[in-house]
Symmetry: C2
Subunit: 493 residues, 2 copies
Amino acid sequence: MRPVVDILIQKGHHAVVLVPEINWHIKTSQDCEVKFYPVSYTFQELSDHFSVFSYEAFTQRPPLTLLQNMKISYETIINTTNFVTSTCENLLKNETLIKDLETSNFDAMLSDPIFPCGEIIAEHLSIPSIFFLRRGAPFGMEQEASKSPSPPSYVPRIFTTYTDHMNLSQRVKNVLLSLFDFVFCHMLYSPYTRMASEFLKRDVTAVDLFSRASIWLLRYDFVFEFARPTMPNMVFIGGINCVNRKPLAQDFEKLVNSSGEHGFVVFSLGSMVSEIPMDKAMDIAEAFRSIPQTVIWRYTGKVPSNLGSNTHLVKWLPQNDLLAHPKARAFITHAGSHGIYEGICNAVPMVMLPLFGDQMDNAKRIESRGAGVTLNVLDMTPEDLINALDSVINKPSYKENIQRLSALHLDRPIHPLDLAVHWVEFVMRHKGAPHLRPAAHDLNWIQYHSLDVFAFLLAVLVTTFFISFKCCTYTCRRCCGRKSRPKSKSKKE
Amino acid sequence: MRPVVDILIQKGHHAVVLVPEINWHIKTSQDCEVKFYPVSYTFQELSDHFSVFSYEAFTQRPPLTLLQNMKISYETIINTTNFVTSTCENLLKNETLIKDLETSNFDAMLSDPIFPCGEIIAEHLSIPSIFFLRRGAPFGMEQEASKSPSPPSYVPRIFTTYTDHMNLSQRVKNVLLSLFDFVFCHMLYSPYTRMASEFLKRDVTAVDLFSRASIWLLRYDFVFEFARPTMPNMVFIGGINCVNRKPLAQDFEKLVNSSGEHGFVVFSLGSMVSEIPMDKAMDIAEAFRSIPQTVIWRYTGKVPSNLGSNTHLVKWLPQNDLLAHPKARAFITHAGSHGIYEGICNAVPMVMLPLFGDQMDNAKRIESRGAGVTLNVLDMTPEDLINALDSVINKPSYKENIQRLSALHLDRPIHPLDLAVHWVEFVMRHKGAPHLRPAAHDLNWIQYHSLDVFAFLLAVLVTTFFISFKCCTYTCRRCCGRKSRPKSKSKKE
């Protein structure tokens, strides 16, 4: 979101950023006004909470069914929800801050609605909203709230790892999941409907909050996502994070230049996982020492004893800038959508070690396009990793496919960052985008699916049939009666 | 389509235009290669054929029901189809031309698919297609072929003149119409499926031809059209015709400048209608002589005897340039989508006299947004026209609404002409846009609607219920049996 806000500020807009006092990334800024609000947890508690993700991801389990996999993902989400809910509660109960916001006369709210706290504030302030979303809200909320049809016959549901071509058994599971979407949604968002109803002093559902969106800025495109129905207020800004390529710092420049003809491999599991269990780290280090490439590995844990001389551990790495280097040969990633798009932008084939959430789905999308290999981080042996790296680096098809995806992705009439800025300003200028809001929002579920119409047509059909039947039987009886009379007459004769 | 082709040529592409020898508008060009092919009719026959439109439009009829209205529209379309079909037949049977095309190694076909002759050629040459379409193909073919869902509960069907807010009775009619779409489509396009099957030497349906589209360039946006589901390969280029504003020629400049404080009104019924019956022309002239504005009227018929001094008849007028003039007060139009967009671009409120086809629908869209008044050209009296002009010129709401629509329409991140050119070149560069093609194309009707899945789930449910029921009865019988035994025992006792 940052680059969008930066440009808005450059264009003379005033931006106010609401941030919990305890957070990882956002500090005071010279450019925009940052309003911090106190929360009821410490920095240690925040870090401990998110370290659960790492732990969960590396806990060995027997092979999981779809349902078990979904259960774990759901528990992880609920766990996070509880944490974020308390943050939201702290914000909504901060009367001074709310009063301050009320008098500030904002034009619009830009928020990530995955936890729709910002939406409660936007509704309270009666200002239009722009949603900035990674890859769809959980459990189809995005489809429901935007009224975008999503046929389960070819639109795979989240956490299924299915592609857009499903066999019957997969389609059965996909349909069942889509039938239960609303149950999951209700469970996930019930704390928000409670908070919203309390704060706004009227009944509010999660769909109410989500369907406020004037514009959905969706951080994907159809090079990565499977083609499916969209709505006029959806704007696709996948690859927005690949902007601002900077020259490499001297130490990284030296490292990549010394990699020789074999080039180098970038390895990062994202900002939420930087430590992994030692046995796994040693397996990975073992694999790396057997390949001819230099490896740059973002890792903050204890150094594995078997680390090869070609492997360089760093606490942080300029991922996009490294991937843009012509010597980058492969990208080992946890398949978060951010990293995936940096891989696509820079046409670097990927070895994907998905850990949780939608990362399995992301990995499947890239794999189904032949631009990467997915490994299960728990099961994989050093040989698996060596083979996967060998494939993506040396088999031409992987490089060709990622180059094709990259060419399609980069061939756009306008940069996604400019597109995002345009639509934020559009909403500010026109106080929303009501012309892009489908009339479906004004219909209930029965009306939307024309069930009342079909019931009426059925009633007409049944009545017509019944009357025709009665008429026929009556006519038959009369005809038979007439016919039988002469017979009886002839009998008499 | 012309401005798009012009820019493509400026960018160094080679364009070949296929044109029937007998036509109204396209002559040889210095910029692009025009290939004319002979047809089996004369210029007079062509003109006579289209003059039927004028005649039909001004033939007084009793008030029509939706069904009668549709029947007339359908007959008009079929009438035109027969004419255009013969043109297509002439093209496909021109062996020299087809051989020439086969050896020309084209990158893409740009065509208006409303009569899908170009598609047969594109399929024969195995080149990707870009469709350039006014306002959707007739009878939902566009939705069917692009796999774009189109819920009949809020997406009004063509020729209905409904808005996106329908009452139950309208929704019933809309659902019924959508159920019969495929029948209409089959009737309308059967000549093309026959020709295509003959020419390509295999069975081809109209949907096959239409679903070839790599990109749909649709000449509308959601300022004019009601918001509804779209697909990733649909690009909205409404207002593409409002480009290239030129200074007015001296005679028009003089005319508009002499119009004084009351300004002027532009009146045109489009290129297909320039003559109207004298009684109607006199009614219109009568109305015009009573208003304080200058009127510029495109009209080639006999001059009405009651023509006022403020009314100027012209054989042709620079419509977009006139509407762009600050003294333009109102635009009287037949509500073709071309003219409607020139009205929107230039924020001139409209009095609409729809004549045939989708013009009634277009007029309804503008009227429902409070930016114009619709009149029935057959019924209207001079007073009706005076009142309508008075409303749109003097009631502030009309000007405000068209200004709002205009502001929304013009506030776009990229000009529709540049967008169209980008997507044509995209298809040429990447040999299509397969990543934007939904997997729905690979499913049959039953699979797409998950009917096989629901049948399976129903079978499972019924079987489960049956087994449970059998188990229950069996258990009950055993339990009752056990219970009854002691009873009989006690009886014995």
